[in-house]
Symmetry: C2
Subunit: 405 residues, 2 copies
């Protein structure tokens, strides 16, 4: 088979053949967690935008309180009350005060707020102020936090929940962000039926579609299900074309026979350029990587679900990371092999395993199964890769196990 690459060559090819996707979209009604800003966000207003009290109590002229105490309160007539959400329609004359709630706008003339705990209501329209207030005390002034022109966030920032709060506070609800990335998923093969059907003789359920959609969800990547396509090259071509127009990447899985694999390959060729036709890894060799004329990756994955899963974890994730300009190294656990494992010289070999804890050490128990669909997917805790230049590993050797999350 032409153009079979080693795992390392595949990872280098991904870096060299694809560029981060630079699409930009406008969020009209607020960004969402995980959005990456495609513009600097500059404040256009003051926060807060009016002088306000930080306590429940009375707005005062601080001068009127100087020298007062529990013993000698400053007795001030209450000339009004500030309502939340309204600008006071009165002015504070000397030697008067006004009730004010936390967050209430400071009336003109006032320059401090006194906590209600330090006042006494005499019930006759006057209160006693029991503690002197310094100018500015218990107030936040207009623009204390942000002024117009302040750069709040720089382009490239990945937004968190606290950022979403800050943007809402500034009314920055219309924003340019990097276009969300989406992956189309297609399964192909006459033998495939929906997982909800009982397969007839010679049929198998389509495992790859729900599994790949679930994996993309684990990665936080949007996906579009383009369904199952029978062994009809024209139909497959049309479906892959649709998916590549709508999405940033397309995963085509299935085609486990030579004829099916060739059909997938011809379809990918006709939509762009096939960059790689096979990976020197077992299982997972029949993996095809192509690039559309506008630079989008098309990936032909093995039909065997466990192989498709491994290739997705080992290579498709790197491709997604490359296009999104991110990096998500796989979480691994170092474990000791409980028994020796033979490997095929010349190809990297993936081995599913279970993990066991014993005497504070972590052990990897290789799963030996020639079919291994369920065994490898459901009963394994993870898998490890034996490099292609290694003929096997002895009992007790340390392996880095990639966990099935």
């Amino acid at each position: 088979m032409l153009n079979v690459l080693t795992p390392d060559q595949v990872l280098r090819l991904i870096e060299s053949a694809f560029q981060p996707n630079c699409g930009i979209v406008t969020r009209a009604h607020g960004a969402v967690v995980g959005d990456v800003l495609a513009e600097d966000v500059v404040a256009s207003e003051y926060v807060p935008d009016f002088d306000r009290s930080t306590v429940d109590g009375y707005a005062v002229r601080s001068k009127d309180t100087f020298g007062c105490s529990d013993a000698i309160p400053a007795i001030l007539p209450v000339i009004g009350g500030v309502q939340m959400g309204e600008t006071p329609d009165f002015k504070l004359a000397p030697s008067t005060c006004a009730a004010i709630p936390t967050g209430g706008a400071l009336p003109e003339g006032a320059d401090a707020a006194v906590m209600v705990e330090y006042t006494e209501d005499y019930g006759d329209g006057t209160v006693g102020i029991l503690k002197s207030a310094a100018p500015g005390q218990n107030l936040i002034f207009r623009g204390d936090d942000v002024k117009p022109g302040d750069v709040l966030f720089s382009k490239g920032r990945k937004l968190t929940a606290s950022d979403i709060g800050a943007l809402a506070a500034l009314g920055k609800m219309k924003l340019q962000v990097e276009a969300p990335f989406s992956v189309g998923v297609i399964s192909t093969g006459d033998e495939l039926v929906s997982p909800e059907e009982v397969p007839g003789p010679g049929q198998v359920r389509d495992v790859n579609t729900p599994m790949l959609l679930a994996l993309l969800k684990e990665w936080g990547v949007e996906s579009v299900d383009f369904g199952r396509v029978p062994d009809d090259e024209a139909l497959l071509l049309e479906r892959v074309r649709q998916a590549s127009e709508r999405c940033d990447m397309v995963l085509i899985s299935g085609g486990s026979s030579v004829g099916q694999k060739d059909a997938v390959c011809r379809v990918l060729e006709s939509l762009g350029e096939v960059l790689m036709h096979g990976i020197a890894i077992k299982p997972g060799k029949p993996t095809i990587l192509a690039r559309t004329n506008d630079g989008k990756p098309l990936v032909g994955l093995p039909g065997h679900p466990a192989a498709a899963y491994y290739i997705a974890r080992l290579f498709v994730r790197s491709l997604v990371d490359r296009l999104r300009g991110e990096s998500h190294p796989e979480q691994t656990v170092t474990a000791k092999l409980t028994e020796s494992v033979n490997a095929n010289h010349g190809r990297a070999q993936i081995t599913a395993c279970q993990l066991e804890q014993k005497d504070g050490e972590t052990f990897a128990v290789p799963i030996r199964s020639k079919s291994g669909l369920i065994t490898q997917l459901a009963r394994a805790d993870g898998f490890f890769v034996i490099p292609r230049d290694c003929e096997g590993l002895p009992q007790g050797a340390a392996v880095d196990v990639i966990i099935h999350h």
Copy 2:
């Protein structure tokens, strides 16, 4: 204020007053990543469900190939071809073979498959087998992987993408899973306007709703936005009741004035029991925790967005974890204070900070701001908590900073 608890008391109250939510729902068309199984999943069929080839090549009776080699091939007439997805309608007679694709069903009579690479097509309806095949070679037998009655997954398992694949392979698309958890979010206050509006005099944008929805999304928790409610106790009661009927937990934020806080408190009291009325923490004291008669938590959060954010990170997350029977300890970074920080004896104190790297060490630069809405939410990298029995920390002290993800 009655019933003000310390942070530790609040965490203990959450453990004692709430039980994991035990609702169960049926997924009719397949579970999704993160679903927790509410039943054991037992295989009801064989995987694979027919004997099949693992290679592209020829189905043979192994006996017919014994002793053959490159020099002395076994020459066998090709009596047919197996089609993918079909049961062969022929039987393999002695000294014959049939073409078979990878995954193809083994015809009756055959007991091995030979890879096409070890055969030679003579073009006259016969092929030469160049390598002898052992019985069972290159085959997977019915039930090799799973047999009816095998327990595939136990109740309580949190499903991963590989599990979703295994369930699809077994056709287990109708499943009992723990009910997905959802949180209702309500903001209250006459002064609040939508973040898309320009606030009039005395008005402020509703920051808490988008921020809390974003935070719940960061946590992977479903949320329902119940909008803004003006200062009208009857309306608020009705909205909180609706939210508590539909969701597993309700967050009511806002109410920064005493009157608003009292209204929220009365509403929560009338829907169940108020368990806590204030946390000895700054900012964040005006936090109310109540429990409906059917055991759901209702949380009154502070109106100030930074305070609401901190209380959500420190306490609401624990409440969500408790109800879901999970645990998500906050990710912290240990850093050295660049300057001393005073704290109020008797209350835990939250301080926002930026993180800086210098000479391989991580430093926390406290943010000093009395308002701090944007400063605390957007310009901080995280925050740390000074315990209530500590009067402050000197320059150089180590603090555990909770990161704004």
